[in-house]
């Protein structure tokens, strides 16, 4: 029982990452009708916002310490971070320690701007082009972005730890009535789940309760009519692209303590996020979220030894198997509407 509970927690966590990436992807699908193969790269860029801030916070000047030796036997150069120099050891250290959550602050503007530039500079010219062309151009863009990141940060994964306060694990089982030690769960994963829930809620509330969101939803349903009403829908779609980029970026920022970022991580998430979007139903926001959590939880269950003993290799293929079954049983995905992206 506790094992199943633990896997549900794991699934929720994996699911929140899937849901966040798929949410941004389906926003772009739904509003702009663009198949964005660079979406995984946006997730990766978000993660590297956190890496950048961590590097900035640990920027340091060197002091030569004659008492110690480096690997070549020369006097050791000791690094002292500027941050600690400016703000003192306590505040400077605390800032460095909290670099991952603090990167949210820089990631939002950076990702929104990247989103604007992408939409205005590139994607905009591809609205009327076939999906195949959109795929090729955004795939090319994804390669270019990741090669640039590789140039600056190298190909090796970079450790970006969570703040000291969130390291370690919580005995979650005690809270829900299991024996102590039975269900232990890392703090940061709980933080990630809560963060995802808040972010998803915020996006939904934004679309549901603001005039802006109402117009966008109307535009998603019938772009032409909204345009005829004299509303500049294009401008709003640009903003939606920025928001989608920011959601993907934030998902990346907060995921860094769980998965050490490397330049290739976007491609690893790309396929899965497309599967999630399609299983949820093209252009359906609740569908993407539901499918994200569903696939996350199923994947966790499939990884259990008891399941693998019955069907070897099931954890490798479960996501795809579920996607196939759902698409055959419910042609439009969990919550998609008829006639979207087919024919």
């Amino acid at each position: 029982m506790d094992a199943i509970f633990l896997q549900i927690l794991n699934g929720l966590d994996k699911g929140s990452a899937y849901a966040l990436i798929a949410l941004g992807l389906t926003l772009i699908f739904g509003t702009l009708g663009v198949v964005n193969f660079a979406h995984g790269a946006l997730f990766m860029l978000g993660a590297f916002c956190a890496v950048t801030l961590q590097k900035l916070f640990s920027l340091s000047y060197t002091v030569i310490d004659e008492t110690q030796k480096d690997f070549l036997g020369n006097p050791l150069k000791v690094e002292v971070s500027y941050l600690e120099g400016w703000f003192g050891k306590d505040l400077g250290g605390a800032l460095a320690d909290w670099s991952v959550p603090l990167s949210i602050l820089i990631a939002i503007p950076i990702m929104v701007v990247i989103g604007f530039i992408m939409e205005r500079g590139l994607i905009r010219h591809f609205y009327k082009r076939p999906h195949a062309d959109q795929i090729l151009v955004t795939f090319g863009l994804a390669i270019v972005l990741q090669e640039i990141v590789k140039y600056f940060f190298g190909a090796n994964p970079i450790q970006t730890p969570a703040p000291q306060a969130f390291r370690g694990a919580l005995d979650f089982g005690v809270l829900v009535g299991f024996e102590p030690g039975a269900v232990i769960y890392p703090f940061w994963r709980l933080v990630y789940f809560l963060f995802a829930a808040v972010l998803i809620g915020a996006v939904f509330a934004f679309l549901r309760f603001t005039t802006f969101g109402m117009v966008v939803r109307a535009g998603m349903a019938d772009r032409e009519t909204v345009g005829l009403l004299g509303i500049n829908i294009d401008k709003r779609f640009t903003i939606m692209f920025g928001i989608a980029a920011a959601v993907a970026g934030l998902a990346g920022v907060m995921y860094t303590p769980i998965l050490s970022p490397h330049y290739h991580m976007g491609m690893d998430f790309l396929v899965i996020s497309f599967v999630v979007v399609v299983v949820g139903g093209m252009g359906s926001l609740p569908g993407a979220v539901a499918a994200g959590f569903l696939l996350g939880i199923l994947q966790s269950f499939a990884s259990m030894n008891e399941v693998k003993a019955v069907i070897p290799g099931i954890d490798q293929v479960i996501i795809y198997l579920v996607a196939i079954v759902i698409l055959l049983v419910r042609p439009r995905g969990l919550m998609g509407k008829a006639g979207v992206m087919e024919e």
Binding site: A3, Q7, L9, N10, F71, A182, I184, S260, S300
Partner: protein, 449 residues
């Protein structure tokens, strides 16, 4: 563009040569001389096939740095590095057999297909006589097979699977790097001393051939010191999030977790295992421990402080005190401003060993080179006295047992040497069951003619 070359005059002028060329069928172009790509000019070309894109790109770059350094030293540029400490003294900095050493590079992408395509282009287009490098066993085995068919020498880079010199051994292929069996044999006594004989181990294993051979080796060697194997679980390669594999470890009754992962998988699984509080746990009255059998400097750097106190093994480390290591670290450090990784050392040493074998054999003919390498005993290349065993083309030398440094003094000080396991302890019979048993055979050397 080429039609102009077919003027009547051009054809007449070159008719004789062309006729001779056309009449002679060649395999990988070269039968006229006896072996593939025999260098006829004043230079000889070596092929350095390393991952430059994909997850192991960083390791590939480091291999490439070392290979370039080796070429410089062979050509008499720089301080000579390990040439000064090498026990064999036939290399004098004038290239190989008086021919200047040149090299070409290629990208394996850590995919067998891409690696073979890149190697083929080196053989067919650039006429290399030897290929060196690589950062995974699948690629090493694939390229080794190709070199065997083409009739050139393959000096493997980082490849740790038992199969490379086990069931997939080839007469034209040579491995300096150690293997999974040696990791197990070296780690077991250290683990016994540190954690005792009454332990229960849980394996998480990357679900492909290297992972399996390491799991098999570690299982055998830990069970030999009295440990019990609770469970072995296979994880998909590149899973990213290992939480659903780590969570069941908590209540499995195991008190040691062995991570048979490499590269990014290892960094993630170790980091996540620490996040799940495994290392703070007390099971069966003992502290829970994690073991990572195969270490590399880049993985250690990527795993950050999670690696502190975790045992693993390595082929070589820049902190070793011997003269060869010091000479190599000095010339590498001065050129690139960082200490070399253990895959860099392997590629550097392999290049020198090849050059040395050619010189001793007096020929680039792969069969003569192979003969010179077989049973070759040498010293001064950083690993102590070493034997290139003739039966399977595996180097036998001391193995390092490492531990994550508790108090690093600089950014390269991530691992410390716990013990240098003597060579006798990691030796095994050439027909050991983990190495293909009696069926495994090198086949015969192929010179390509």
């Amino acid at each position: 563009m080429t039609s102009s070359k077919f003027t009547r005059r051009g054809l007449l002028k070159t008719g004789a040569a062309a006729g001779a060329g056309l009449a002679m069928p060649t395999i990988f172009t070269g039968a006229a001389w006896g072996f593939t790509n025999e260098p006829t000019g004043s230079t000889v070309t070596l092929g350095f096939n390393v991952p430059q894109t994909g997850p192991y790109a960083e390791e590939g770059m480091d291999e490439l740095r070392a290979q370039q350094l080796a070429v410089e030293h062979l050509n008499g540029i720089g301080d000579g590095g390990m040439l000064n400490t090498f026990s064999s003294k036939v290399l004098d900095g004038t290239g190989i057999l008086g021919k200047k050493v040149e090299f070409v590079t290629g990208d394996t992408q850590t995919k067998s297909d891409a690696a073979r395509a890149s190697a083929k282009s080196m053989i067919e287009k650039d006429k290399v006589v030897m290929i060196n490098g690589g950062s995974s066993s699948g690629v090493a085995i694939a390229v080794q097979g190709l070199c065997q068919e083409a009739g050139i020498i393959f000096m493997a880079g980082l490849t740790h699977s038992n199969d490379t010199t086990g069931k997939d051994r080839k007469a034209n292929g040579f491995r300096h790097f150690f293997n999974a069996y040696m990791s197990g044999a070296a780690l077991a006594p250290v683990l016994k001393n540190a954690y005792g004989t009454d332990r229960r181990a849980y394996h998480l294993t990357a679900d492909y051939t290297w992972g399996w051979t390491q799991e098999e080796s570690l299982k055998a060697s830990t069970e030999a010191i009295g440990w019990e194997t609770v469970k072995t679980v296979r994880t998909p390669v590149g899973a990213g999030d290992f939480s659903s594999y780590i969570a069941p470890v908590l209540n499995s009754g195991a008190d040691v977790l062995i991570l048979n992962h490499y590269g990014g998988d290892m960094i993630n699984s170790l980091t996540q295992a620490v996040q799940f509080g495994l290392r703070d746990k007390v099971v069966n009255g003992k502290n829970f421990e994690i073991v990572v059998p195969l270490y590399s400097e880049l993985m250690a750097a990527g795993a950050g402080e999670n690696i502190k106190g975790v045992f693993g093994s390595m082929n070589w480390n820049w902190q070793l005190p011997d003269a060869g290591t010091k000479a190599f670290v000095k010339s590498f450090g001065e050129k690139y401003g960082r200490p070399p990784s253990n895959s860099a050392q392997t590629c550097y040493v392999q290049t020198l060993l090849y050059a040395d074998a050619v010189t001793r054999a007096g020929s680039f003919n792969p069969c003569a080179v192979a003969e010179a390498l077989e049973g070759f005993e040498f010293d001064g290349l950083g690993n102590g006295p070493t034997l290139y065993r003739a039966d399977d083309h595996q180097c036998f030398k001391d193995v390092l047992v490492m531990k994550g440094t508790e108090n690093p003094t600089n950014q390269y000080d991530t691992l410390e040497i716990v013990e240098v396991t003597p060579r006798a302890q990691v030796e095994y019979a050439p027909n050991h069951p983990m190495f293909g048993g009696d069926d495994a055979s090198l086949g015969s050397c192929n010179a390509g003619a």
